[in-house]
Structures are given as C-alpha cells and as structure tokens.
C-alpha cells in the first residue's frame, strides 16, 4: 500500500475509519467512518461528525483501505479452535480460600 499522502487526487473522497478517545487514559475506540480528501480533512470531519456532543478528547483516523481484515471465510479456522478451551478464562479455576491476593 502506498503512502496515502501521495495518492493521486480522485473525484470521490476515500473512506477513513475514525477512532475517538472519550477521556484521557482510556483507549481510542472505533466509532465509525467518513469520507475526506485527506487525513487532515478527515480529522476535521471526524470532529464535526463524531465529537459534537463532547464525545472525545482525541481523534485518530486511518484510511479504511489500509486496514488489513481477517477473511470471514477463514473464521472457522481462526476462531473455532478457541471455543472448547474454556480453561483459558481465569474464572475457570477455583481459587483456594488461603490465597488472598491473585
């Protein structure tokens, strides 16, 4: 994938994914997507579209085309094997009463 800043101008604005941090210390969360000519405009649009009601203190944007997504057709191979491994949840184990801090 090329540098988005170097992309040639197109008639249609590319799509950006928007991530908003609602408070300092919290993580940025995906809130949606929007169209913009470039990253700077995407930040401005994200401000106008997604933070009008004081939803955030920080914005990340990333070109949607630059996100590599898992293939839904591979979902079985990727996710099914975890289904029968409940012992990976910490709550699977009984904690002895003697253990005060864990």
């Amino acid at each position: 994938m090329s540098n988005p800043a170097a992309d040639p101008p197109t008639a249609d604005w590319p799509l950006f994914e928007v991530f908003i941090r609602s408070r300092s210390g919290l993580e940025h969360k995906h809130v949606g997507s929007l169209h913009a000519a470039d990253a700077r405009m995407a930040i401005e649009h994200a401000r106008d579209v997604y933070t009008r009601r004081l939803e955030g203190v920080s914005i990340w944007v990333v070109r949607s085309a630059q996100i590599l997504a898992s293939d839904p057709a591979e979902a079985d191979a990727l996710f099914e094997p975890a289904r029968d491994k409940v012992y990976r949840h910490p709550t699977f184990y009984a904690i002895p009463d003697e253990v005060k801090n864990l």
């Binding site: 101008p9 604005w13 929007l34 169209h35 913009a36 000519a37 700077r40 405009m41 401005e44 649009h45 401000r47 106008d48 579209v49 009008r52």
Partner: protein
C-alpha cells in the same frame, strides 16, 4: 455577572450608547453569518461538510446570543436577545456588509467565511484584554471557536485555490467579488475610536496590519491573487446595507413576525 459592574461606562450615557452599538456590530455580524451558513444545510457538497457548516453556524449564533443579551442589558429598555434578533428591521442591523453577502457557490461561501474568520480572530483576540470584563469573557469563549473556524476556512481556501483549474478559478472569482467589502472591516468610525479610547476595543489600524499579513500569507499558499483595494460605498456597521440583508431577515424573522412570542 452584572452588566453595569462589568462595563466601564457607568454614568456616561454617550459611552454607554456607543458600547451598545459596538456590541451590536459584533453580535449582528455573527448572527447574519450564522444564518447564511444555515442556508447550506441539506445542500452542502458532502454530508460531512453539511455538518461542518452547521457547526460553524451554531457557534456563530451562540456568540450572537451572548452578545445580544449583553447589548440588551446595556440598552436597558426591556428588550431581550430575541427582540433584538427578530424584531429589528434591516437599517437597525449593524453587521459588516460582508457577512450578509449571499452564499454563491461553495468557494464563495468559503472565501467569505475565511475573510470574516481572520477578522474575528484579530478582534476577539484583542477583546480578551478589554477593559469591559463581560466583553472580554465573551471574546475568550468566541476566540476558541473562531480558531477552529479559521482552520476550517483557510484549509478549504488553500484546497480550492491550489486545487484544480476549476476550483482555482472559482476561488479567485470569489476573492475578486468579495474583496470590495473588506475595506469596511478595519475602517474606524467614531464608535470604533470611542471604544478604543476607553480601552474597550482594539485600535483597528493595528489589527488591520495583522489581518493583511495573515490574509496575504493564506492567498500565497492558495496561489490566489489579492485584488487592488476598492472604495466601499457600503456601511453595514452603520446600518446601510446591500439589498441582500432584507431578504435574509425576511426568512429569519418570518416566524416571530407572524406569530409574535411563539416558542417551543
């Protein structure tokens, strides 16, 4: 906060009258420009710009509300912000002539916005140090909004000017067409001088220099040309308007004029 305690005009009727008119100029410029931007809602080139322009409009109308409320207190004859916004006729409006100019195409709207944003940046920035503490507080709030407005409009100015042949031509056309209204921005009259003498408002000459530097730099980045200075027969801030304001007020005031006192 009480208006009388905030303003250094107590007991000076002439100064109080001048302050009333000065605050109305600021208020009406924001109100009229906000109403103009509102006309874009549903028509902007993209959904995102539609929301962006509406946000600017709401900021400006919010500024107008604070300023009109203050103006009404200074006047002290029982009018409130709504009476001032909806029940005055065009000759009583004191907005800059530039603010009432029609939207035209998107480039026209952006150039008008950018010229006024750059003006408000200078004026509000100076007003944060006003001897009138109420005005200083309003300016401090408005300044934060105006910084974003300017970021938005100057960004678009550069995109359009330094964009395609079509966008450049339209941006230059808008600059050429609106430039004649800029002379009024910094031409002081007796009210401006009175406000400056009382340390309430800035000396316009100093603000004008900064405005010209900023505007020239933006034009350079946008590869646009500054037109020659043009004399201005318009004096919106003295209540002498172009025909466009009457139509704007007709729409803006229609509801209150038809159903006085209507609210929801």
């Amino acid at each position: 906060m009480s208006a009388k305690a905030a303003a250094p005009v107590q007991g000076d009727r002439a100064l109080s009258e001048a302050l009333f008119r000065y605050v109305l100029r600021l208020a009406d410029t924001s109100l009229v420009l906000g109403q103009r931007l509102g006309e874009w809602i549903g028509y902007a080139p993209a959904l995102e710009e539609d929301l962006g322009l509406a946000n600017l409009a709401l900021d400006l109308i919010g500024q107008a509300r604070l300023l009109l409320t203050y103006a009404a207190e200074i006047e002290g004859v029982g009018r409130d912000e709504d009476a001032l916004a909806f029940l005055r006729d065009a000759p009583e409006f004191l907005n800059l002539t530039l603010a009432e100019q029609p939207n035209g195409d998107f480039a026209h709207t952006i150039v008008r916005q950018w010229l006024i944003d750059a003006w408000q940046l200078e004026v509000y920035e100076s007003l944060t140090g006003s001897a009138d503490t109420r005005l200083a507080a309003i300016a401090a709030k408005a300044l934060k909004e105006t910084r974003y407005h300017y970021r938005f409009s100057s960004g678009w100015l550069v995109r359009l000017g330094d964009g395609t042949a079509e966008s450049q031509a339209r941006a230059q056309q808008a600059v050429d067409s609106l430039w004649r209204f800029t002379e009024e921005l910094f031409t002081p009259d007796e009210i401006d001088e009175r406000m400056a003498a009382a340390s309430i408002a800035p000396q316009l000459a100093a603000a004008a220099e900064r405005w010209v530097r900023r505007v020239d730099e933006d034009l350079r980045r946008a590869t646009l040309v500054r037109p020659a200075p043009q004399p201005h027969p318009w004096h919106g801030k003295r209540g002498v308007h172009t025909e466009h304001l009457g139509h704007l007020l007709g729409e803006m005031q229609h509801l209150q004029r038809t159903y006085p006192g209507a609210s929801w």
